[in-house]
Every structure is written in C-alpha cells, then in structure tokens.
C-alpha cells in the first residue's frame, strides 16, 4: 500500500516539474495538435488525398476551394497534409514501440543472464550498430517492397540495438541492488526477477528513450519516402516532397513544398522537446539541450 502511495507521490512530483518545464509543455502541445489533425482528418477536408482532380485543377495555387492548392495531378495538398500526419504518427509510434520493446527484452536478458548469452546478444547488437543506418534502411525497403508495414519493420530493425545497450547497462546496475538479492533469497525464478523485479525499474528509461525514438522514426520515414521508398497508397509528407521534387516544378509551386517540410520539422521538434523534458525529469544529468 505504501509502495503505491510512494509511486503516486513520485508521479505528482514529476508532473509538477513537467508543468514548470516550458519545453515539455510546448512539445506536448505540438504533438496534441498533430494528433487532433490526424484523428479528425475526414472532418477537416472533404477531399480524398489520392483522388485526381479535373484538368483545370492541376497545380493551382491556394484558393477558397483548395486552401493549400493542388499538386500536378490535381490532388488537394491540404488533404494530403492532414492525412499525412496519420502516416507520420503511425510509423513513429509503432516503430518506436517495436524498437524499444525488442531492445528492452534483449537488454534485460543480456544484462541479467550474463555470460555467453550476454556475449552473443551484444555481438549481434554491435553488428547492427556498425552498419550505416540509412543505407541499411534503404536496402531493406528496396528489397521488401513499398508498404507501410515494411517501413515500420525496417525502421525497427535498425532502431532496437541502441535501446538494448542502454537498458542492459541499466539492468547491470539494478541487478546488484539489495532488493534483487532479497527476491532471489525468497526463491524467485530468473524469469520472475527479470520481468517482475527489474523490468518495472527500467520503464521510466524506456519511456524517455521511446519519445526520442519517435522523433527519429518520423525522420527516417520522411527520408525513405522522399527517396521514393514510401507506401504509394498512403501519402506521407516525405512522399509529397518526393512528388514535388521529381515533378520539377518546385520553383513555381511553393505551396506544395513548404507545408510538408514545415510539418515534418514541427512534429520532430515536438517529440524532441517532450523527450528532452522527460529525460531531464528522470535523469537530470543526461539532458540533450
């Protein structure tokens, strides 16, 4: 009982710091705005982002009918933009979740079991880490084919090793603490110790890592789509820029180039600010900026 009270008061303490952190509040605000856009996309625009326009609707500048204009196929830019936030958020959250979960499981096992298992898992981690991330993602997505699921898989494959390392080193320090020895004394098994005793203690770290991972996953998706490796059935911001860039009209169609780039910038900024604020609360020495 006292334990849960402690946790609640700790949470209250964290929240009080968070409210004072201007960065964190701004970051959270940006994220919420994009989430609202993503959820209410069909309410905000009558257009289908993939539906081609009539011949007189090609490359029209912003107007009352198309508030951000149209692209070279007459598709509504504003519709592409708000539906694009769905792709970014979906890829960001799923890839970050998979990377962190996979990395945590591997880090927990490597750190707690130790010995040969640890050696083997860490060698595997090193190999993935030593490969240049973007070229590896490019090769994997070119080979797997263009789909949203594949993009998420590819970003996760590249993403897990770093979190495995971080979680492992955390486990190594937790493992020496008295309460783990106590658990072992009362006869708790390995599995129980890893998942019931150690795991809850690495959750805060996982969350802090996870938010920053979302930012980097969103960036990765944008670059891959810009390079023409995105899912053609789900227009994302990176893909909008790919279309605009390869159509050769960027000098003229500023309304096609500015919104997607600004959106990518803002959403990454949002997650970076929030992640940094959380990091500062949980681990005051490891702030990024």
């Amino acid at each position: 009982m006292s334990l849960s009270n402690d946790r609640i008061s700790l949470l209250k303490y964290y929240l009080s710091i968070f409210k004072r952190s201007k960065q964190g509040v701004i970051g959270l605000f940006i994220i919420i705005v994009f989430m609202l856009l993503a959820i209410s996309a069909p309410l905000l625009t009558p257009y289908d982002p993939l539906k081609l326009g009539s011949p007189d609707e090609l490359l029209t500048p912003p107007s009352l009918t198309h508030i951000l204009g149209t692209d070279d196929l007459g598709r509504d830019i504003f519709a592409q933009l708000i539906y694009g936030s769905r792709v970014s958020l979906l890829v960001g959250f799923s890839a970050a979740f998979i990377s962190i979960t996979l990395g945590s499981i591997i880090g927990l096992i490597a750190g707690y079991v130790g010995g040969l298992v640890d050696e083997l898992l860490m060698r595997m981690t090193d190999i993935v880490m030593v490969l240049p991330a973007l070229p590896l993602m490019i090769v994997l997505s070119a080979l797997l084919g263009r789909s949203l699921v594949n993009i998420i898989i590819v970003i996760s494959i590249v993403g897990w090793p770093y979190s495995a390392r971080v979680i492992r080193s955390q486990v190594l320090s937790i493992k020496e603490r008295p309460f783990i020895e106590a658990a072992r004394c009362i006869g708790a098994g390995r599995f129980r110790i890893i998942f019931r005793e150690i795991f809850p203690n690495v959750i805060p770290l996982m969350i802090a890592e996870g938010v920053l991972y979302i930012a980097s996953a969103i960036y990765s998706e944008a670059v891959l789509s810009f390079l023409g490796l995105g899912d053609p059935m789900n227009i994302s911001w990176g893909m909008m820029l790919n279309f605009a860039f390869s159509s050769g009209v960027i000098a003229y169609a500023w309304w096609w180039v500015l919104p997607p780039g600004l959106s990518i910038g803002f959403i990454i900024l949002g997650f970076a600010l929030l992640g940094n604020a959380i990091n500062e609360i949980l681990n005051p020495r490891s702030r990024l900026f």
């Binding site: 991330a133 973007l134 900024l269």
Partner: protein, 326 residues
C-alpha cells in the same frame, strides 16, 4: 610502440576483419534470399545483355548450389568484383569508384567546417549560459535538428538558385565549358558546391554544438577551473586553454563514431543537388531498380564506414592516455 599498444591494435584489426566478413555475408544473403532476389531479377531484366548474363553465370557460379555461390561470392567480392549493373551494363565497382571522390570531397569539407564551428559555438554558448546568445545558438541548433536536411536543401535551391539565380541547380561543374585555368576550374567547383556544403554543414552543426556545450558545462564545474580563476588567469585564457581543451574529447568521439550518421546526410544532400557521388548513386539504383548497383553501393558504404570507425578508434586510442597505457 609499447607492447600494450601493439596488443590493442592487433585486437582491433582482428575485430575489424570479423566485422567485414559478417557484413559481406549479410550482403550476400540479403540480396539472395529476400523478395527482391537480385539473381532472379537479372534474368527478367531486359536491360541486361546476353553476354553479361553469361559472364555473371560463369563468374559467380549461379548454376551451382547456394553454399558454393556463397563461397564464390566472397572470393569475388574480396578481389573487387561486385557484379554488373543492370542499368549501365558496366561493372558495378567501376561506377562506384568514379563517384567516390566527389562524396569524399563534400564530406571532408563539411566535417571540418561543422566541427570547428560547432566547437566554437558550443563553447561560447556554455560560457555564456543563460544569455541571449546562448538561447539563440540553442534555438538554431534545435531547428536544424528538427528540419529534414533534404527539405533544407530544397529551400536553399528554391531561394538561391531559382529565385535569386545566384547558384547552379546541381552537379559539380558547368558542362560543356572548358576552363581557361585551374583556378577557374576550382572557382567553378566552389560555386557548384556552395549550397550542398551549406546544407550538409547545417545538418551536422546542431549535433556538435549540443555535444560541445554539454561537455563544456561539465568541464566548467570542475575544480581545476575554479583553481584557474583562483590563480588569477584571464577569462579568455581559462576558456580556450583550460576549458575548451578538456571539453574536446567527447566531440572527437562523436566525430569518430558517427560516420554512419554523416553518410545519411550526404545521401540526402547529393539527391537534392544532383551531386554525382555515391549517395546519388544509391538513389539512382533505387529509381532504376538496379539491384547489383544497390548491393555494391551498400557494401562499399558499409565497408568505408567500418574502416573509418576503425581508424578513428586507433587514433583515439593513442590520444586517450587511459587506453594508451592499458
């Protein structure tokens, strides 16, 4: 060299060789087993000439069982044969080698400028922590971190090439113009590389500023800085001779271990500015569905990154006395 140093280097060389072997193996299996099977596609691709198919069959033993193909692949890769491009019907290695110098030039200049600038800005920012300058530097770093660098490049292209007409749209030099002198050629190259370099430097800069600033903040709270003040040294001397020097180590580590991250920036920039380097080649290979070229480019990039990390690891080992003596 001491015994410890020789042992340190031998250990690193061994781990380098093992890593290279594993990377070559991964590359083989990626392109033979995954859905986009490069060999099967070669037979289907109308661009590949009959002679080249026969040549590939013979050279890589494509009619033999997979394990034998694997051994042949390793032998061929080690001797520099990376197969034949679907798109250009030329040996992949020749295409890559002709593109490599342009990427190295771009990368070298961008790394030198962005580390120096990052060190100066980061040091100053930490020194004047909480001031307006500090906030401006931090804000700009955060913005360059958030904005994708390919978009940054597109914006620069839009403003300076299309609207103001100050810089060319891409490439490394004006085509069809023979230069009167070497100087003129260099100037033409500089003119073409300005925007790509600015984009790349902006991509790297934010990271360096943050690392240097954090490292400086740690150093500035050390006892020896207080001691330096107590000795009556000037601010300037403390900043440059005592604080910056000691804060540099983390920056070198980051430079050393982040070639993978730097390559990512180069790919984005080369695509936007049609810079004929290896990054642009990766993009061309995707567009052209040229799998041998993609495989070769990936291998060369991965090997370069691994070797660059290896070299900086060795240099770092000599710089850091804790490793040197160990």
């Amino acid at each position: 060299m001491s015994k410890g140093q020789v042992k340190y280097i031998l250990k690193k060389v061994l781990s380098l060789l093992i890593t290279l072997y594993i990377v070559i193996t991964i590359n083989f299996f990626l392109f033979r087993i995954m859905p986009g099977n490069a060999v099967r596609l070669m037979f289907l691709d109308p661009r590949v000439s009959k002679e080249n198919i026969d040549l590939m069959m013979k050279k890589f033993g494509l009619d033999k069982p997979l394990w034998m193909q694997y051994l042949i692949y390793i032998r061929e890769t080690v001797s520099g044969n990376l197969g034949i491009s679907f798109w250009k019907n030329e040996p992949v290695i020749n295409i890559i080698m002709s593109r490599l110098p342009q990427t190295i030039i771009l990368l070298t200049i961008a790394i030198i400028v962005s580390t120096s600038l990052g060190i100066i800005l980061g040091a100053y920012s930490a020194w004047r922590k909480g001031s307006l300058t500090d906030s401006v530097i931090l804000g700009l770093s955060l913005i360059t971190y958030s904005i994708p660098s390919f978009w940054n490049g597109i914006l620069l292209l839009l403003v300076f090439s299309f609207w103001l007409n100050l810089f060319p749209l891409g490439g490394t030099g004006s085509i069809g113009i023979s230069h009167a002198s070497l100087m003129e050629q260099i100037l033409d190259f500089a003119w073409h590389s300005t925007l790509p370099l600015i984009t790349l430097i902006l991509y790297y800069l934010g990271g360096y500023v943050m690392i240097m600033r954090n490292s400086m903040l740690d150093v500035l709270s050390e006892d020896y800085i207080v001691a330096a003040y107590a000795k009556g040294l000037s601010d300037k001397r403390i900043l440059w001779r005592h604080a910056v020097r000691n804060a540099l180590l983390p920056v070198t580590t980051v430079t050393a271990l982040n070639f993978g991250w730097m390559i990512a920036g180069v790919i984005e920039v080369e695509v936007v500015f049609s810079w004929p380097g290896v990054g642009r080649l990766v993009y061309d290979a995707i567009i052209q569905r040229d799998y041998p070229l993609l495989q070769g480019a990936f291998l060369i990039i991965a090997i370069s990154v691994i070797i660059a990390n290896f070299i900086s690891d060795i240099i770092y080992g000599f710089l850091d006395p804790r490793i040197r003596k160990g």
